[in-house]
């Protein structure tokens, strides 16, 4: 178990820890740091975090699985998160989803064999005014149409 | 108590004519039936029956669609029993003739399966409640068979393997959900 924060992260962690009166309250930022550091939070990382904070292992797991922005499994280079909530669906998110599936030949939750794209559907991203919307890693693309999606995917390649 | 006797008429009290009348009826039957028996021997008038007898093991009366015969267990496409060993038939059986021992199935989607499924036909009263209770359409009484005699009580306890081999009598299927065989319409467990 060679999982350990780098010196830099350790310092950051110390800062974070200082913000909370109780140690286990720092679980969320600690996991955030871990994700930054290791990109994927594997069970080993969880154990490390749990030990670091003195929190039961299962609590770490609970928090990790509750929040969707933590990733417990490895993703492709681009994480396509398509909103399929009401507003987006009404404005054609289903068509776009079908288009992406068709284009990349993957289903929701899967990664392309070249490890480039991971497709997932998410709930409201808060862009109902400019629906449909897709989040690619940290960027948002609004007012999508199948054509725009094609362009987008082409650009990302 | 009042006894009402019927007075015989003079003709009746002679007996002779009454006896002759009776003899005439029986003799008429005899002659008619003999005629057709002999005609049948020569292949004539086959459609006119000479006797009402049904020669049971060789001939059988076609049973009604609703008739309940021996039990059988429906199987999945892979041949394993549809039964999930829920024991509802065992529960509903008024004479307690069904004995199931349940076991863990390796497939978590099936989970429970009958390790043994015995129907004791010596106790069975053919009420068909097991058919109705079964939530997965596993047990049926549509084989159109009656239990065959056995040399011991054990011979009359039908086991799972035996019950699985039975097939429904064509045209006498008693499927409860849809007419005819075919997939079940309402199967809560998706099995």
């Amino acid at each position: 178990m060679a999982v350990e924060f780098s010196e830099k992260t350790k310092e950051k962690f110390k800062v974070v820890l200082g913000k909370y009166p109780e140690k286990d309250a720092a679980l969320l930022p600690a996991l955030w740091l871990a994700q930054k550091e290791f990109s994927v939070i594997t069970p080993e990382v969880e154990e490390y975090v749990s030990k670091l904070l003195g929190v039961p292992l299962v609590r770490v797991r609970e928090v990790l699985t509750f929040y969707t922005m933590y990733t417990a499994k490895s993703l492709g280079k681009y994480h396509l998160q398509l909103c399929t909530n009401i507003a987006c669906t009404l404005l054609g998110a289903e068509d776009i989803l079908g288009r992406i599936k068709n284009k990349l030949q993957i289903d929701v939750g899967e990664t392309t064999p070249d490890k480039k794209f991971t497709l997932s559907t998410v709930e409201c991203l808060g862009y109902c005014g400019t629906a449909p919307v897709i989040q690619v890693n940290d960027d948002f693309y609004e007012n999508l149409t199948p054509k725009k999606v094609d362009e987008l995917l082409g650009k990302l390649k | 108590m009042k006894i009402v006797t019927q007075k015989l008429t003079t003709k009746e009290s002679l007996y002779f004519f009454e006896i002759a009348k009776g003899l005439w009826i029986t003799a008429r039957h005899f002659v008619k039936n003999m005629y057709f028996h002999i005609a049948h021997l020569y292949g004539k008038y086959q459609e006119v029956p000479a006797a009402v007898t049904i020669q049971y093991p060789e001939e059988k009366i076609p049973v009604s669609k609703r008739w309940r015969g021996n039990h059988r267990i429906n199987s999945r496409p892979d041949g394993s029993p549809r039964c999930v060993a829920c024991m509802l038939c065992e529960t509903v059986c008024p004479v307690q003739c069904i004995h199931i021992i349940a076991g863990e199935h390796p497939d978590p989607n099936i989970e429970k399966y009958p390790v043994s499924f015995d129907v004791d036909v010596t106790r069975c009263c053919w009420c068909g409640m097991c058919e109705e209770a079964c939530p997965v359409d596993a047990i049926y009484m549509d084989t159109g068979k009656t239990p065959e005699p056995g040399y011991s009580r054990e011979d009359l306890v039908y086991h799972k393997e035996q019950l699985l081999k039975e097939t429904p009598l064509p045209n006498y299927q008693r499927s409860l959900n849809t007419p005819g065989q075919g997939p079940m319409k309402a199967n809560p467990m998706g099995l």
């Binding site: 069970p43 969880e46 039961p56 299962v58 609970e62 699985t65 | 509802l88 349940a102 989607n109 467990m189």
Partner: protein, 545 residues
């Protein structure tokens, strides 16, 4: 002391009492899933909603404390509608596999559905598929699809068993109970998870698929697993198609007793019933013929026993016989034994303290080191210290001074090993009276089958000195007989002996003759037991609470 009106009836309760508890006091039952009287309150299930006058919305009765002059309604149309809606939500992703679910028949989802909803599902979309048959450990199986995420199990592990191992993973309708990958439930109280779970999500592997709950009868009993004397309910069936071969007792579940076990039962006791229907049960009296045992009937076996004991007493005196009773026997059994051997035959060598009998593991929650349910009872009845100790008896047997040993349920070979084995094989006469075949029984000359705790009536005295009653659920297997009955029949063959017809008669004699039991009757013991006023002495030090 707030006074509340619930469904137009008034009740005064302690401050801080929840509405649900207050209603329970009035005999009004409010349906609930996540609430458990011994666990913290999370109000997660929303099933216990009630209408409070003045409140804008329905409130959860489990988490809201009563206030003075509060007016509560538990069965208004509004409440019923809320319950129906909650049930509809809970059942949205439920797999409805009641036919194969072990919980069906005692499942709160089923019960409340039939009491409060009875509405067909309106959910037309695909149900969320979750993991089935999840291995949580060697004793418990989880079915996530059936789970309603009430978190009773999570709280139980954390708060009672002291092992924070269960958690809820994922969120919304994908929530599942689970353990961290690679971990397993290990605590000694996981059996309670199956009881605590209101639905069929957590089931005990031991009970899994064995029997449907509606085939089971229940009767109050005391767990015979250790000297704690946890109150339990034994579930057994009278539908036994395989005669002597089938399983009759299927499980033990805890019964509430605040002074003893709260509402929990440890796994050791819970799954310790297996000996009742195990294949090594003694079902017929037997006598040794060379190497083998020959089955015989009670009359022959008892006559033989009586004759040989009588001859030995006449020839060598009463001290040539040693009696080793077991604290597994009930007070009644032990008293009858004392009457027979102590008073009638004047045997002084009676000792139940087989060396090492109380050296089990103590887990500081319920399980005690002494794994015998009636040690205190045996002590109070004076079955130790009148003559030689067990160890000394074994030595004397070897020396040839003690000719016969009467083992009443005890298994000295198990605790003393070779020493006892040697002694037993040297003794002129070894009589074994017990329920199961064991190493000591193997060396006996006469074997008398006794009844187990579910097959006889009687009382156990736990380590605190609390007398508690076990009830007869089943007829003894085969020809087996309650131990007090064996002693009574044997006593009548040997001389003047009271003709007990029931365990209660024996207990009446105990109450008359043994000081600590004075004035106690079966009626007074009731379902919760009765604590004895113990005499001064070393025994009290153990019993500090």
């Amino acid at each position: 002391m707030p006074t509340v009106t619930i469904d137009e009836r008034q009740v005064t309760v302690d401050p801080g009492t929840s509405i649900l508890e207050a209603a329970k006091k009035l005999g009004i039952f409010i349906p609930h899933y996540c609430y458990h009287p011994r666990l913290t309150i999370v109000d997660a299930c929303r099933m216990c909603l009630v209408e409070v006058k003045g409140a804008p919305k329905l409130v959860t009765s489990c988490s809201n404390a009563v206030a003075d002059n509060m007016v509560v309604f538990t069965d208004t149309p509004k409440v019923e509608e809320a319950r129906q809606s909650v049930l509809e939500f809970l059942l949205i992703n439920h797999p409805l596999d009641c036919p194969i679910c072990d919980k069906s028949g005692e499942c709160l989802l089923q019960n409340y559905y039939f009491c409060h909803s009875r509405k067909p599902s309106r959910f037309k979309e695909n149900k969320v598929k979750k993991h089935k048959v999840v291995d949580l450990g060697p004793k418990i199986v989880l079915d996530s699809e059936r789970c309603i995420v009430c978190t009773r199990c999570v709280r139980f592990c954390k708060e009672v068993a002291g092992e924070e191992i269960l958690g809820i993973f994922n969120r919304a309708d994908h929530s599942e109970i689970g353990v961290f990958p690679g971990k397993k439930l290990e605590n000694n109280y996981q059996g309670n998870l199956a009881d605590v779970c209101p639905v069929g999500a957590l089931t005990a592997r031991d009970f899994r698929f064995k029997c449907r709950s509606w085939f089971l009868c229940q009767i109050d009993t005391i767990c015979p697993g250790c000297s704690n004397g946890c109150n339990a309910v034994v579930h057994f069936t009278l539908r036994n198609f395989n005669g002597l071969k089938g399983q009759r007792v299927f499980r033990l579940t805890p019964r509430e007793n605040n002074d003893v076990n709260k509402v929990w039962l440890c796994d050791v006791g819970r799954w310790g019933y297996a000996f009742v229907d195990s294949i090594d049960r003694l079902t017929m009296p037997a006598m040794r013929k060379g190497e083998d045992f020959v089955k015989t009937d009670w009359n022959t076996a008892l006559k033989e026993t009586a004759n040989r004991l009588k001859t030995l007493v006449e020839r060598y005196g009463a001290n040539a016989i040693g009696v080793i009773p077991s604290p597994h026997l009930t007070n009644e059994d032990l008293y009858a034994l004392k009457c027979l051997f102590g008073c009638l035959l004047k045997i002084a060598n009676i000792d139940f303290k087989v060396p090492g009998f109380d050296k089990g593991e103590d887990d500081k929650i319920l399980l005690k080191a002494d794994r015998h349910p009636n040690t205190k009872g045996a002590e109070l009845l004076g079955l130790s210290g009148t003559g030689l100790s067990v160890e000394a008896m074994m030595d004397k047997v070897k020396a040839g001074e003690i000719k016969a040993l009467y083992l009443a349920g005890s298994d000295p070979v198990k605790y003393m090993g070779e020493k006892a084995e040697e002694a037993l094989s040297r003794a002129e006469l070894v009589i074994f009276q017990g329920t199961n075949f064991n190493a000591s029984c193997k060396l006996a000359h006469i074997v008398l089958p006794g009844a187990t705790f579910v097959e006889k009536e009687g009382t156990f005295t736990n380590y605190q000195g609390r007398v508690q009653k076990v009830n007869k659920a089943l007829e003894p297997l085969g020809e087996a007989m309650a131990d007090w009955e064996i002693f009574t029949r044997l006593g009548q063959m040997l001389g003047v002996f009271p003709s007990y017809r029931s365990a209660e008669e024996v207990f009446m004699d105990i109450a008359r003759e043994v000081a600590p039991f004075a004035g106690i009757t079966y009626k007074k013991i009731g379902s919760q037991g009765i604590k004895l006023t113990l005499p001064e002495g070393p025994v009290l030090s153990e019993a500090k609470e």
